[in-house]
Amino acid sequence: MSAPVSPIREPLIEGGKTYHQITEDICAPTERVPSMAWIIAFMVAVAGLTLYVFCVTWTIWVGIGSWDLNRTIGWGWDITNFVWWVGIGHAGTLISAILLLFRQRWRTGVNRAAEAMTIFAVICAGQFPLIHMGRLWLGFFIFPYPNTRGPLWVNFNSPLLWDVFAISTYFTVSLLFWYTGLVPDLATVRDRASGLRRKLYNYFSFGWTGSAKHWQRWESLSLVLAGLSTPLVLSVHTIVSFDFATSVIPGWHTTIFPPYFVAGAIFSGFAMVQTLMVITRKVHGLQEYVTLQHIESMNKVILLTGTIVGVAYLTELFIAWYSGYVYEQFAFANRVLGPYWWSYVGMMSCNVLSPQLFWFKKMRRSLFWTFVMSIFVNIGMWFERFVIIATTLARDYLPSSWSYYTPTWVEIGLFVGTLGLFFTLFLIFARVAPVVAIAEVKSILKVAGDQYIGPNAKHHHHHDHETTTKSTDTHH
């Protein structure tokens, strides 16, 4: 079972855990009475959710006129928020799929929570195009279904329709991937529970037994789903970028958008994972499973993708100048120096400059700076989408229709409200399901536990020794 491991690898599971201890530690948060911190956080989140419901109702009742969109600026906070949330929703599948294919063991500590985050973020993202339709009850028009109008089909050549397919496929596949991974762990919780709790977890664990054949199929399924999700996750933000890139608006019509959007999505997704994990590991006492090693690995990804995004920003400026095309040059000069210059500054400083802090190992391993940086990146990536959308539209072809846009309270309420929706869902998840993948952590214990590798390892020579250490530990 134990694959060869380099002795210089840092352990990913600390505290000399036994299998039983792993079960205890990770199941414990779902089994005890919620802490005061959780209750307060939940109340705040539900308040945000209430605001969301109110603002959606208001938008539908009064109409889209309650937003400050105008004929020039047809996309504002709504699509900014949509792209922001979708971007955040990329880290989960990236961690679970791409890191699984690359056999990165550190994924096991954070994949479950990141995948849950992905699903909730995509739920939040999906709200905005729907509300933006104005007539929400006609939302099913976006799907091709036989209808009495011909049938008149949707436009399969439109990137907006591609988006419908991409986001709904992404949501479905992420949900299946996440839940299938969750089933064995829900069975673990089931087998520790009694009474009604046991009945409920029994229902949701689908009758999992842990049979060898089932595990074999489960692993095969996970691997293929990972293989499918990898191009999927890259396709989703590529297609989101097509919403802009296939248009003929200067500032949007660029071939750099797909890779730049994908890098940005990974960047913001990891930032949101950090925001959540820094808090969750503390509140749930999971510091031995989500270690500084995990945090540091994710900070490296943030540094890399942040820098890629920075290169993309500069490339855009360079190409605009180099193209010699005045409208393109104007679009970018306007982006940097125009009426929304402040959002460009926000984007550049949060996304490109601040992550450079992570060149220093001390910073990568500092929880305080990780948290601060994750918030910075979240803000910066929101600005990026605002910069792309609002600044470009505000100065279009005809100077007579140039315009400026500030959100109304309804639009702000909708954004804050989706944060409420997101955190409500995440807080419920953190209460009812194991936030760290129990079975997967157990399966890497012998190659990543700190009693087996690292400076505190009890034996450097493997196998028989380790078996005895293990079984004596169990008897304590």
Binding site: M1, T18, Y19, H20, T23, P144, G150, P151, L152, W153, F156, N157, S158, L161, W162, F165, A166, T169, T172, V173, L176, T180, V183, P184, T188, R190, D191, R192, Y203, F204, F206, G207, W208, T209, G210, S211, A212, K213, W215, Q216, R217, W218, S220, L221, L223, V224, L225, L228, S229, P231, L232, S235, I239, F242, A439, K442, T467, K470, S471, T474
Partner: protein
């Protein structure tokens, strides 16, 4: 299960390496293991138990191909036969524009198909209760189970001594 209850003799092991040794021993002794239950996937177990590789991924390929064809043929039919419309001066059959949706549906069909197949062949669904031998199997115990319906007392004793001699920390029997 439906027609006849299974009488099962099972041993619980504390570690997957002891389990693997025991399974290897069982293979050498030509004992017929009913099933092995573990808290996480134990690598190296499948060949010892004679489990052939799962064909789930082949099913996934077929589902994916159905998705590809569904998406591509449907869009082609709509835009060349059912309601041809020119968009942006492009031909009716604008194949490159069909690629994104064709790809998405391929992934969607393959994933949903595989997941549904997985749960179906494993006999799992929401609300299903499959009999389990011990609650600690999903925690830290590794279980080898023998079916003992119709086995003579001597045979059961042999299995029992096999389990304890290969390092099982507990040996129990249960009818499931």
């Amino acid at each position: 299960m439906k027609d006849q209850n299974k009488e099962v003799l099972y041993g619980l092991y504390d570690d997957e390496e002891i389990l693997l040794k025991a399974v290897r021993q069982a293979k050498d002794d030509h004992l017929d293991i009913m099933d092995v239950y573990t808290p996480f996937p134990v690598h190296g177990l499948d060949p010892l138990l004679g489990l052939s590789e799962s064909r789930l991924h082949q099913a996934g390929f077929v589902y994916g191909a159905i998705g590809t064809l569904t998406a591509f043929l449907f869009m082609s039919w709509v835009f060349t036969r059912d309601w041809p419309i020119i968009f942006g001066g492009k031909p009716y059959w604008s194949v490159p524009a069909f690629i994104p949706i064709t790809f998405e549906l391929t992934v969607l069909f393959a994933s949903v198909g595989m997941v549904v197949t997985f749960y179906t062949i494993c006999g799992m669904a929401p609300g299903v209760t499959n009999p389990t031998l011990d609650d600690r199997i999903t925690d830290d115990k590794f279980c080898i189970a023998f079916q003992t319906n119709g086995a003579s007392e001597a045979e059961v004793d042999r299995l029992r001594s096999f389990l304890s001699s290969t390092g099982a920390s507990e040996v129990n029997s249960k009818t499931i």
